[in-house]
Symmetry: C2
């Protein structure tokens, strides 16, 4: 496939862009153990968006990997995961936010995926209230038998990637996650490539 | 506390109503092993709504019980769980929908929480696109170490209830869940009471 775009996200930053149906978004963890959050909205109607909750329901799993179908809130397939060298991507958690850092860590201010996604998606008329459900690429969240979460070290090593094929025309927000705890204590970049359809 | 309203939901139905800050919603499973879905929106701005994903993040748990704070997509507390005789309520899954019954079971049509919530919330200007995250009262979803979901028998016995104190003025959608599998194979009613503040 022909590469049609590339993005380099420094640590704790984000980007917004469009994808056409059939194009493939490759999200690369160049250094390893770094999470990338993905938000996605249908270009034909921004009220249709990625629903990780419906994805969990229909797949019966809290992780995505090769072959997973990622659904919208209207229960249509937004993405198919067509390749994955890391093996596990999280569906459980919302993007980190200034409010999360305040509630959980008492931080007066902190960079966040929510603000970075909102900045990237602002040109498409999408704001913070709409950004509630994101794919947590490379994130490793485990659930104990009594329902407690453990944020583990991301499964990705340097160069690992996941390929998402767009199944409709999309607005995309992408981040290099800003939360220290999620990324094994060090904040690293994320790279992304888009390959043309066919 | 003084009782100010009561609702009886026959099997596979729903209701919509308002609550004032400080009022308590008691959701009762009169026969046992029956799930009730709750959607909630801020009356001062309907773009603020219950976020089970943020609730999972901030609590570090996939279940709610007495003492749990249920957050909005703006990370404000919508509800406090002030009493609970069942012990476990689900935060993982979206409301069942016609699309879910089609995707998972091939059903051409089926009653659903999504349609029942949308009918209950329609007078408040809230539609299906907004109803994505619900509290699954009495629902018992377990997650295996490799991330697979198991829909268990609801933990509730006849007469069990959960009390949710509204922390802001709310529009509420409530259902007696329509999915056979979620309710141990038989569809039962749900009762609800609202108690006045103070």
């Amino acid at each position: 496939m022909e590469q049609v775009a590339s993005y380099h996200l420094p640590p704790q930053t984000g980007a917004g862009f469009t994808m056409d149906a059939g194009q493939v978004l490759r999200i690369i963890d160049p250094e390893g153990e770094q999470v990338a959050d993905v938000a996605a909205f249908a270009r034909e109607d921004r009220r249709e968006m990625l629903s990780t909750k419906r994805t969990i329901d229909y797949s019966g799993r809290i992780y995505a990997t090769t072959g997973s179908l990622l659904y919208s809130n209207r229960s249509r397939v937004l993405f198919t995961v067509v390749a994955d060298t890391a093996g596990r991507h999280g569906l459980l958690l919302p993007p980190c936010s200034p409010e999360m850092f305040k509630i959980m860590y008492g931080a007066a201010s902190h960079p966040s995926c929510l603000v970075n996604l909102a900045e990237g998606l602002a040109p498409f008329g999408i704001g913070v209230d709409e950004i509630t459900e994101t794919l947590n690429c490379f994130m490793n969240v485990e659930v104990s038998p009594d329902g407690e979460l453990t944020i583990g070290v991301p499964a990705s090593r340097a160069g690992d990637y996941v390929d998402l094929r767009a199944e409709m025309d999309l607005f995309i927000g992408l981040t290099a996650c800003s939360a220290e705890k999620t990324n094994n204590g060090s904040l690293k970049p994320i790279d992304a490539l888009i390959f043309g359809a066919g």
